[in-house]
Amino acid sequence: MNLRRDVFQAIADPTRRAILILVSTQSMTAGVIASNFDTARPTVSKHLQILTECELLKQEQQGREIYYHLNPDKMKDIADFIEPFRKLWDDRFNKLEQVMKNYKSTK
């Protein structure tokens, strides 16, 4: 479960989520990724390190450059992880909506 938790915490950060969205369009070097953020370069590097460690991003050497690209399999794991909690609330709220619609029609 530890790995899952790390992955979960990795995507809980707004900057890291933004990085994932950015990289989802095409693979990029750390420099290009950093140029999209006001955050200091070492901070972006730290985020990339965390995302790589939990396998959300994969590194690929192309010539002298290292490109980061998304690992779609791992992304699916995350969606699956938070989804049960969201689904639980969604079901509950759907029920609430239905109960209140019935209540309204009997008034």
């Binding site: 909690f85 029920k95 209140m100 209540y103």
Partner: protein, 155 residues
């Protein structure tokens, strides 16, 4: 498709934000949270106590067919403003989960739609994450139970 229910759990924070839009006027949404009979219908729990006032309290319970308590939760109501907000605590009895603080904001979007923003503050980041994982682990257990059932029929 835009999801009606959204969960926001930011890193290094011991809080959680649950938001949901409803095809209901805000008055009905608020009523769903404050009238015991309605709460019972959508939550599926029996309401033992429900005092919607500052320094009031509430208690929910769920029993199986044999009368064994499956779930019991209670809390103190700190503040209630009709059709606007409820501030309360929530604690599941006989579980290792500490009490949590809940801010419920009921927002009118137009005459027929409303939004609920539920901000939950946990005792620690670890407690929040454990709560997030609860249905996940339950899901795993359910899958295991299902597997066990199938295996038993094969014996």
């Amino acid at each position: 498709m835009e999801l009606k229910t959204k969960i926001t759990a930011e890193d290094h924070k011991q809080e959680l934000l649950i938001t949901r839009t409803f095809d209901l006027p805000v008055e009905l949404l608020f009523k769903a949270y404050t009238e015991a009979e309605l709460v019972e219908q959508w939550m599926g729990n029996k309401v033992l106590v429900m005092e919607n006032k500052a320094h009031g309290s509430y208690q929910f319970e769920n029993r199986d067919a044999q009368g064994n308590v499956l779930f019991r939760a209670n809390g103190s109501i700190h503040q209630v403003t009709e059709n606007k907000n409820i501030t309360r605590t929530f604690e599941m009895e006989n579980t290792p989960f500490p009490v949590q603080l809940e801010f419920l904001d009921f927002i009118s979007l137009d005459e027929e739609t409303s939004k609920l923003e539920m901000k939950i503050i946990y005792k620690s980041i670890a407690d929040r994450d454990a709560m997030l994982k609860l249905p996940f682990e339950k899901g795993i257990n359910m899958a295991h139970n299902q597997l066990q059932k199938i295996l038993n029929t094969l014996k």
